[in-house]
């Protein structure tokens, strides 16, 4: 009874399959994700960056920050990504910094879950279903892209040089993507 009252992540039941895949692949559930929309040229955009400790990147498809990061989604739209439990703090800081300026701060933490995939084969596995050029000279650490993997829309983000990728996928598509990645990891070259 208690177990059913605990929160569950979309891929919580796939952990054993990930572990058996031979790849360094795992779900990072319950991460803080807050959508921020504001004119990138406004003082409020700078104020939000200062309040959060991570500047909002203006170069398309790039990420600023580390543990707490600002991910470019559009010319006036970012996703603030943080550790589990950071959502109230991010929301409060960004809302205060935004002030009366036209814009929005919205908690979207339950919209997407995160799949992390690392290691030498990660790039080849992703390349099976992603049309982007993931070669390091084009797509390296600190780059992100909203694109398609298989048939589902994702936010792909390289956060480390192993290489390490985060794939942010909508909760209802997470099992599809997990199936797809496990199949890509298992099949031959």
């Amino acid at each position: 009874m208690t177990a059913s009252l605990l929160r569950t992540s979309p891929l919580g039941e796939r952990e054993a399959e990930f572990a058996a895949s031979g790849m360094d692949i795992r779900e990072a559930g319950f991460r803080a994700m807050v959508n921020v929309r504001v004119d990138s040229a406004s003082a409020a955009a700078d104020a939000i960056g200062i309040a959060l400790g991570v500047p909002l990147p203006v170069v398309p498809n790039t990420v600023c920050g580390g543990e707490r990061a600002a991910v470019w989604l559009g010319p006036d739209e970012w996703l603030i990504y943080g550790a589990d439990g950071d959502t109230p703090r991010i929301t409060a800081l960004a809302t205060e910094a935004l002030g009366p300026v036209s814009g929005s701060v919205l908690d979207l933490s339950a919209n997407r879950t995160t799949i992390e995939i690392s290691g030498a084969r990660a790039r080849e596995v992703l390349a099976k279903g992603c049309a982007l050029d993931l070669h390091p000279r084009v797509f390296g650490e600190g780059h992100c892209a909203q694109t398609l993997i298989g048939k589902t829309q994702v936010l792909l983000w390289q956060y480390g040089n192993a290489p390490d990728y985060r794939i942010l996928v909508r909760a209802s598509f997470a099992n599809y993507l997990a199936d797809w990645l496990l199949d890509a990891a298992a099949s031959g070259w």
Partner: protein, 90 residues
């Protein structure tokens, strides 16, 4: 597969985009005084050139921004893309 250049994200595959029809179709400036014929033309009549055609596209699976593109309807070649609010290149 067409490669389409999003003015924000760069070249992406056609499957990431939605088509939005002819660009630069202005809403009637005086709707109350616009007659049935003009309304019908605004709503339903579009150019159909064999050659360069200014169109709206949206990067649906990416940054979700609308932009304009000039495409040659005979060859499917994209002659240029430009952001909303920017004038059509000559």
């Amino acid at each position: 597969m067409l490669l389409i250049e999003c003015p924000w994200c760069g070249q992406r595959e056609e499957t990431e985009f939605r088509y939005g029809g002819q660009a630069h179709v202005d809403y009637p400036s005086a709707p109350a005084e616009t007659g049935d014929t003009e309304w019908a033309e605004f709503l339903f009549y579009r150019d159909n050139p064999a050659g360069p055609f200014a169109e709206r596209w949206m990067h649906a699976a990416g940054c979700r921004r609308w932009f304009n593109a000039v495409r040659d309807t005979r060859t499917n070649e994209f002659l240029g893309v430009y952001r909303i609010g920017e004038g059509q290149p000559a």
